[in-house]
Structure formats: structure tokens, C-alpha cells
Symmetry: C2
Subunit: 417 residues, 2 copies
């Protein structure tokens, strides 16, 4: 069994060193890490080969295998994205405000690193370097706990990063990995409140649920997206068609893809057949409510929906379809079944656009645009550690700023109370 307490202590100590580092020191370290990863490509690929062989022997799915496999090109991409972080502004240190109180105390609010961040993830070894880069840039130490599938790759990547850190002004321990991937160890990790300030799980619904249930360290829930597109009465139907096709089919396996189409009754007769034609040609299964099934039936891809479909994140070429009376019912449906990720209305109505923006309870609410834009890059953050679907601390795409907290700094001249 690994000594997690030692790991935690080292991370905490490193986080205090890192909080003192200036932006140049952090950028220099990122440049060294990026360079080191390129230099270590042969070692990393060799470690990755071990993981891939084991995975093949265990008959893992092609999709999982695709996530696991590294190539020279992929490592170069990871390295390049570290270099991109250098050009982003350092979020820490900024004083957001200083207010003078009547007694002369000056109360300031300053952005500071969170401290130690724990990342729990599955089989994508590229997360290892991505997460390390984001944490370093934002002044945080990180403890990585990746899945057993990718453990050799992850260890090789962290070894490369630590070697580069050793030649930088930052402490080597600001990036550490838990080499023991057993369940007991990860459970212990989730309860290290003394050393870990926040846990960010990245992966499927099961991983996120298990983290929420077992952790005593504060968790940022990420990811699950049961997203809707609602086509309002008098919408621009060509625009609506483009949006639903894009939201459903441009990348069905990601969290900001649409899973349910809601259509105002007044538009159903005209819009649904056009939608059917467009989506069936892309091999999308349509799971239809009674009304829409009546309109669309006759194709093997068109089937009646079940209650379960409304609450399912398909992550596949499947779309649930429902005719609703109007915007009120659409909002009610979304707030009941949605996962509070990304929701869109297509409308020409000023009033209903505003109503939808106000009343839909989600991280990102769109008027006349595809849900697919919920992404740190698309929002202009330059980088992203995940998409929060909870309401505390961060909501929606999390960039560097969301990896910081604040601290009150108070300047006095002897005030007592």
C-alpha cells in the first residue's frame, strides 16, 4: 500500500512554494515540461505500448482503446497545448477590489491558487499532462489518479514532467501521481481533507457518481450532459434544422451534444418531417413521443419513446423527440429531465427568448445557437479543465480562473473591535 499521507504532505508543501512563484517561473517550467515531453516520446510510447497490449488482452472496446493509444503526434499535441498555456494571463495575484471601511480598515479581495487539486480520471493518458499544465499555470499542486488501464503511460508522463520540474524553479512535487490504482487507495485519496483542497473527477457518469458518494474533500461535479434543443413557435425553421443537426451529429459522444429535441406544437407538422429527413440520412435513431411518432412513423429508425429516454444521455446517434405545447412546457421538461449542462431555444420571439434564458436552470443557456459551443476554447478561456454541472464555485466550462479562489487581505493601522 502506497503512503498517501506522505504524498499529501509533499503536495501541500509544494503548493506553498508554488504560491510564491511568479508568472515567469511558472511559464519557464511549462516550457521545460513541453520540451521534456517531446524528448521523452520514445519512453512514453514504450510505456503506452504495455498498456495497450494489456488492454487488448482484456478485450476492451475500440472506443476505449482509441482513448488509450498515444502516438508521436498526440504527444506533440499535448506538448503544444502546454506551450499555449504560456501565453495566457496568470490568473493569480490580481486584487479584485479594495474597499475602505469607516474605521479605516482597507479590505481587499485577492485571487490566489486553490492549493492542492486532485484529479481522478479514466483511460485518457493525455489528461495527465493537460491537467498538470493547467494546475501549474494557476499556481496549484496536483495529485493525479488515473485509471489502471493507462497506468504505465501515466507514470512515464509524470516521470518526464518531474524531470523537467527538477530543472526549473518550481518544486518537483507540484505534480505527483498515485501509482497504486486500487479502489481502497482511491477511496482514501477522496478523504484526504487535510492535504487536498478539491477533487475534480473527469470521466463517465459512474466515476463522477462514485466520487460524489465517497469523497469528503469538496468535489466539482463535471460532465454529464442531457442537453435539449427547443424549437419555438414561429422559429426560423431552417436555422432550427441546422442547429439540431449540428447539436446532435457533429460529435455525438461529447457532453454538449443534444439528446432531446422539443418542438412547439404549432411547428410540429412542418418541422418534424424536415428534421426526420435530415437526421435519418445521418443514421440517427428517433425516439418519438406519441404525437411525433404519429407524424414520423414508417421508418425503422423511428420508434416510440419510453419515459427513460427523456432522462438518458445517449452519447450516440440517438435523439429523443417530443412535441410540447409551448415554451412553458419546454422549460418544465428541461428543468425536470436535464442535467443542467447546456440548453438551447430557437426562436424569433424577444419575450420567449428572455423567458427561456431566465427560467431554464443550466450552466449554459443559448438563444439561436448550437449547444455544442459549451467549451472553454469556444468561450474564449484558452484552456479548460472540465465543464462543471454543479452550482458551487464554478459552473460551465472551467478555465484557469476557476482553478483559483480568493483570499481577503486586510490593511490596518492598529484597529481593534
Amino acid at each position: 500500500m502506497i503512503d498517501l499521507t506522505l504524498l499529501g504532505k509533499k503536495a501541500k508543501r509544494a503548493s506553498y512554494e508554488l504560491a510564491k512563484a511568479n508568472g515567469k517561473d511558472k511559464n519557464d517550467a511549462l516550457a521545460k515540461i513541453a520540451e521534456g515531453l517531446k524528448k521523452d516520446i520514445p519512453d512514453i510510447l514504450q510505456a503506452n505500448k504495455k498498456d495497450v497490449e494489456k488492454a487488448k488482452a482484456n478485450n476492451i472496446s475500440d472506443a476505449l482503446l482509441d482513448r488509450l493509444i498515444l502516438s508521436e503526434q498526440r504527444i506533440n499535441q499535448v506538448s503544444d497545448s502546454l506551450l499555449e498555456l504560456i501565453s495566457l494571463a496568470d490568473p493569480t495575484g490580481e486584487v479584485l477590489e479594495i474597499k475602505e471601511r469607516p474605521n479605516g480598515l482597507r479590505v481587499g479581495k485577492q485571487r490566489v491558487p486553490i492549493g492542492v487539486i486532485g484529479i481522478i480520471y479514466e483511460s485518457r493518458p493525455n489528461v495527465t499532462a493537460d491537467a498538470a499544465g493547467l494546475c501549474i499555470k494557476s499556481g496549484n499542486a496536483v495529485i493525479l489518479r488515473g485509471g489502471s488501464d493507462a497506468i504505465n503511460s501515466n507514470i512515464a508522463i509524470v516521470k518526464s514532467i518531474q524531470n523537467s520540474l527538477e530543472n526549473s524553479k518550481l518544486p518537483m512535487d507540484c505534480v505527483q501521481i498515485i501509482e497504486d490504482t486500487s479502489r481502497d487507495t482511491v477511496k482514501e485519496f477522496m478523504r484526504m481533507n487535510q492535504y487536498v483542497d478539491v477533487l475534480i473527477p473527469r470521466g463517465g457518469a459512474g466515476l463522477i457518481k462514485s466520487t460524489m458518494e465517497n469523497a469528503t474533500v469538496p468535489v466539482i461535479e463535471t460532465g454529464t450532459g442531457n442537453c435539449h434543443v427547443y424549437v419555438d413557435s414561429n422559429a426560423d425553421l431552417s436555422m432550427a434544422l441546422d442547429i439540431i443537426v449540428n447539436a446532435k451529429t457533429s460529435r455525438p459522444g461529447v457532453c454538449n451534444a443534444a439528446e432531446t429535441l422539443l418542438v412547439a406544437q404549432s411547428e410540429a407538422n412542418e418541422f418534424l418531417p424536415r428534421m426526420k429527413q435530415a437526421l435519418i440520412s445521418k443514421n440517427v435513431q428517433l425516439r418519438c413521443c406519441e404525437k411525433s411518432f404519429e407524424l414520423l412513423k414508417g421508418d425503422p429508425l423511428v420508434t416510440p419513446s419510453t419515459e427513460e429516454d427523456w432522462g438518458t444521455e445517449f452519447l450516440d446517434y440517438i435523439l429523443a423527440v417530443k412535441v410540447v405545447e409551448g415554451v412553458d412546457k419546454a422549460i418544465e421538461h428541461i428543468n425536470r429531465y436535464g442535467t443542467k449542462h447546456s440548453e438551447a431555444i430557437v426562436t424569433e420571439s424577444y419575450t420567449r427568448a428572455n423567458q427561456f434564458l431566465k427560467e431554464v436552470d443550466a450552466a449554459a443557456v443559448y438563444v439561436n445557437a448550437s449547444t455544442r459551443f459549451t467549451d472553454g476554447g469556444e468561450f474564449g478561456f484558452g484552456a479548460e479543465i472540465g465543464i462543471s454541472t454543479q452550482k458551487l464555485h464554478a459552473r460551465g466550462p472551467m478555465g484557469l480562473t476557476e482553478l483559483t479562489t480568493i483570499k481577503y487581505i486586510i490593511y490596518g493601522d492598529g484597529q481593534i473591535r
Copy 2:
């Protein structure tokens, strides 16, 4: 057993209504609640009498009894503080920024209520109305779970609030109470992720620990304060004396009181005897490190410290005292033993003041002022729901703004990705 799911559903529904309410509706409801509480004083006092009699029969401590007892004056104060909320700005609705992306999407960030807030507290029935008022003003529904000691008082207060809400434009269910105070019920409450967005425990260390350990709903950790005052070399010693006397003795039972005094070696000989004289005259026990014990011994209130003293929140007329080499060691001690609440340095050094502000890991870091100022009212927030000692979402005193979250609102004209 109470039907918590029904309670949760009602709260969630009420939260959606409340999110639509405008500032005037919320203020009108607060005024009605304040008026209603005054009108219902006889009923509330009668219910409180039951609680007090039961508590006396159970021989609870005088301190707890004092927290439990209501009087006409206390209820009037609670009512007045609800009226004070009316004059504060409504934190919700504000659009913090709108940025236009290269593709023409306008990405905005809007402040919105969190949704449903769960408050878990102990024997102070005044928390019932205080918390309800703060939640309503910030647009949130609240589910209250007070301790069994005060259950009759709490039920009477909530009944009064609900009666007032029935005559307002807000839904009655925006304030609800869990009448069953059993442990099983509170544990179920802590895992109602579908209906409760955040839990705020208010009370002693045991309550907070149990909430952190059992909850799957995100928790904001509040309260514990093992605060330090560090007297630096070449500090203004008269100022230092005023500050430590104030921080220790003005109200020893609160979380922002000082528990440990750290003194730079160079000042120990001059400062410690003055400190001893001032604090012993106020009956403060001094638990001293070896060096300070040598200097101060000879009084029954002066005893040697144990390792445990450094990590203890005494909440009493007890002060741990330690001589340190200088600011580096002081920061090291604070980051090791502190609870990340409030920490102060008394210094004339520009460099060491900045070092302390930067390197101490706490919600509020002071130069030349008493730790006692960490408080929503003192910081100018007008009201406070608690003091967060964690780093996610809110840190330090939590006012109305900290009871909100953000939502991205995105205006498009047909953008697809």
C-alpha cells in the same frame, strides 16, 4: 418517518418560482415576514418555553440554554434584521460581462440564485428566521433542519413565516422545516442531490465534521477558527498589545477570536511580560512554549503548552504562546496548525507585511488589525450566513452574493460548430 422527497420537490418547485420573482416581490415578502414575527411573538415564546423546559429537565449547560432562550426583545431583533435586508441590493440578475466571440456569439455571465439551500444548525432558534431571510433575499428556497433542542421554537417560527408568505407573491414552500430531527432523517437530507444544491452547516466542529463526512450534496464548511496573532520584530508593541488583548478577550467564544500568540524572538523579552500583565488581569490562561514559559512562569495561570494546544480552538479565556525565530517560522506554524480562518501580523516592515499576506493560507489575512473583524457586517456585506473556511465557492464571510451562482447566457443568430 417524514417524506423528505416531497419536501425536496416542493422546495425545488418553489425555487423556480422564486427565481422569477423581482426584487420588489422579495422585499414585500420580507416586510410581511418581519411584521408577522412580531405579531406571533406570544405563540413563538410559548413554543420556546416548551423547549426551554425540556432542556432544563435534560440539564443542558447554561451556555446552550442562553442560545436557546428567546425573548420578546430577541424576536424583535430578528424581525428588525429582516427589515435591514430590504435595503440591501438584490444580488441576482446582474450580468457580470458579455463578450463577443469571433463567430458573433455573445457569451454573457449572469448572477442567479443557487436554487435550494439546506441549512443544518443546532440550538439557536434565531438562525431559523435569519437564514430564511437571507435565502429569500438572494432568491433561494431553503430547507431548515435545526436541532431537536429548539424544535418547537423552530416550527413556530417557520409557521409564522409561511403564514406571511401565503399573503405574499412568493410561494409558501420557499421556506420549509424538517420537523423530524432524527439522525436517519438528517443523513437522508444530506444525500438529496436531486433537490438540494448546497448544504451549509452552522454550529460546532462536530456538526460540521458530520456533515462533511455524510453529505453527497456539496457542503460549504464554516466556522472553526484557530486564529493567530504574530508580533514581528520591530513591531509597534503598544499596538500589538491592544490587538492581542482585543483578539483574545473581546469575545473569546467566537470563531474569529485569537487562540495563539506568536512572538518574534527579538521582541519576546520586552513584549511577553507586558502581554502577561494585560491578559492575566483579564483572567486569561497562558499555555507557553519553553522559551515563553521561562520568561513568564510564576503565576498559576501560566503553564507549559502541549503539542495539542497549537491545534486547539479554545473558544475560552486561554491563549497558547510561542516564541518564533521570525516571520518565516510564524508562517510555517500558522499554515501547519491554523484552520485557514483569520490570521494577523503586527509589523512595521513593508517586506514582511507583504510576505505574510502572500504566504499565509487563510480566508482573511490582516496587517496591524485584530482578527475579530472577520465578519460580514464588519466587511460591509450588511448580512452574513456564515464564514467559509474552505476554498471552493466562497471564502471568509458569506453575504448575499455568496448565496448566488452564475449562469452563462449566450445570444446567437444561428451559429453552429
